[in-house]
Symmetry: C2
Subunit: 280 residues, 2 copies
C-alpha cells in the first residue's frame, strides 16, 4: 500500500522497536488500573509521586467495588469524559487537593520546553507530562489528553469519587486546580469511544447514544495472572527519548519545507506503550 | 443529578442559547460536506478563502464518487485519521500547495493570543482557527483537532486525494506545511470513533478492528432537501464570541483557586454548532 505522509513523526519510534529493552519499563501492578468499558479496555497508570492520597483513595474505591454500575454521564467531545455513580451515596468522603509537589534542584525530569504558554517549563517524569515553576521549587501534572483527575465542586477540597478523563485539546487552565492522579497508557481509543452526552436547559444530562458503563474496574495486582496484562511504557529518562524530543522540536526532513518553530508542546508528545498479545 | 464540576466552561455557552439568532450563521451548502461513516455522520465545512483550489478539487472528487469504498487506513490515536482508496488510480492528479493566504491590515479576524508557541498571533476567522505572522501579511489555518487536510509526499505539491482529520492534541508543527481545507462542524465524536490502525515492520498497515469505511460522501447542496441537515455554527465575529474568549483567558470564578495564566490556546476553544433534529 502506498503510504502518504503525515506518518513521518512515527518513523523515529518504529526504528526504535528493535533496540535495547532498556527503552521500556514495566509499570507497577499495584499502581495500574484496568478499566473495562462496554467498548473495550483502558489501562491507567497511577501517579503516586504527584497525588499519593488520591491514588490511595481511588484504589480503595476501586477495591471496594464502588464504581460497579457507574456510568460516564458527562462526556463533552474535545474536553472531558466524566464518570461516577448516577446516585451518590448519602455520605461521600471528600479528599484534600493535591495540586503540585515540592521539588528541589536535584529533582530528575526530562525537559521539553521553556516557551510553554502555561508554565515556565514543561517536561516528562516517568511518562507523565509535567510543568515546573520558574524557580523549580514545584512541579505538577498537566492536563494533557489521557490524564485522569478527580472532579470537584468549587471548594478545592470537595472531590469525592467522580473522575474525568481529558479527551481533547489539553485544557491547561485546569492545571494546579484539579488533582490529576494518573494517565491512560493503553486504550485511549476506547476512551475516545465513550458515548458523548448532551445537556439541555442547564443541568439535565441526556445521553445521545446511551451512557457508557463501567463494566469492571480493578487494580491489576489484584487480578489472577491470566487476567493481567503485559504492558510496557516508553521510558522518558533515556537519551533516546531526549533525542526524540529534540528531533521533534528541530525538524530537518525536507518534508517540512516551512521549518516549524523550534518548539514542542508537551501534550503533543505521545509516550508510547506496548502490550503483549492478550491470550484467549 | 448532582453535577460535579469541570462543566464551568460550558455555562457561558448554555446561557447564550436563548439569545439572539445573530450569534449563529448557516454555512453555505455548496461548501458543506456530509461524510457518512459506518459509525455515524460527520459534517465538514470547507474553507474556500484559505484553500480555494483544494476545496474545488475535493468537491470535484466527492461529486465524482471517487471516495466510494475508500477507507480510513491510517489512524493513529491522538494524531490523525487518514483516508483514501486502498488502491490508487494509475494516474492521480496532484494539486499545488495552498499553505497560507496574503492578508492586509484590514483583514477581519477575532484575535485570540499573541503568546502562542507556534505563531506571532492566533485568532478566528469564520469559525476557523487561524494564525498570523508578525507583520500581519499572511494568515493560515492551524492544525487544531477536527481540521481536515490533504496528505502528501515529500514534495509540497504532491497531494492527490488522500486526506486526514486531526484527532488529537494539535500537531501545530504541520501548520503551513499542509493544505488544510476544512473542519468538522458536527460529528467529531464519530471521527473519534474511527477504528485505529497499527503498523508493524515499517509500512504494513494492519487494522485492529477492521478499517472504518466511507459509506457516502456528498456536497450537501447536491442532496435532496430531506437528506440535508439544518446546521448552524457559532459566529466568531461577534462581541459575544470575543467576550467568551476574554472570559476563558481571564477566569475569575472562585473554582480557580489558582488563577490560570491569562492566555488562551486557540485550539482549545471550541466553536459550537447546533443541528436541528434529523427527521426520520
Amino acid at each position: 500500500m502506498k503510504l502518504t505522509l503525515v506518518l513521518l513523526t512515527l518513523l523515529t519510534f518504529s526504528s526504535q522497536s528493535a533496540e535495547s529493552e532498556s527503552l521500556w519499563r514495566t509499570p507497577d501492578k499495584e499502581n495500574t488500573l484496568l478499566l473495562n468499558l462496554a467498548n473495550g479496555l483502558v489501562v491507567i497508570e497511577l501517579a503516586p509521586e504527584f497525588a499519593p492520597n488520591h491514588v490511595a483513595h481511588i484504589k480503595s474505591l476501586v477495591r471496594a467495588g464502588f464504581y460497579h454500575q457507574s456510568k460516564f454521564y458527562r462526556v463533552v467531545d474535545g474536553f472531558v469524559a466524566q464518570a461516577g455513580p448516577l446516585e451518590d451515596p448519602t455520605e461521600s468522603k471528600t479528599i484534600a487537593m493535591e495540586d503540585s509537589i515540592k521539588i528541589d534542584k536535584q529533582w530528575p525530569y526530562t525537559s521539553v520546553s521553556k516557551t510553554d504558554m502555561f508554565a515556565a517549563e514543561t517536561g516528562f517524569k516517568d511518562g507523565f507530562a509535567v510543568a515546573l515553576d520558574a524557580d523549580k521549587s514545584s512541579a505538577w501534572l498537566t492536563h494533557c489528553p489521557g490524564t485522569i483527575a478527580l472532579a470537584r465542586e468549587t471548594d478545592k477540597d470537595s472531590g469525592t469519587h467522580h473522575f474525568y478523563f481529558v479527551i481533547g485539546q489539553a485544557p491547561r487552565y485546569l492545571d494546579r486546580n484539579m488533582a490529576i492522579f494518573g494517565r491512560v497508557i493503553y486504550g485511549m481509543d476506547n476512551v475516545q469511544g465513550i458515548a458523548r452526552t448532551k445537556d439541555y436547559k442547564g443541568d439535565d444530562i441526556i445521553a445521545e447514544k446511551g451512557f457508557t458503563d463501567i463494566v469492571s474496574f480493578d487494580v491489576m495486582a489484584d487480578l489472577p495472572q491470566k487476567k493481567q496484562l503485559t504492558i510496557e511504557v516508553e521510558r522518558t529518562d533515556t537519551d533516546a527519548f531526549a533525542k526524540r524530543l529534540f528531533n521533534r522540536a528541530n525538524r530537518t526532513h525536507p518534508f517540512f519545507y516551512h521549518t516549524p518553530p523550534a518548539v514542542l508542546d508537551v501534550c503533543q508528545v505521545q509516550v508510547h506503550s506496548r502490550v503483549a498479545p492478550v491470550s484467549k
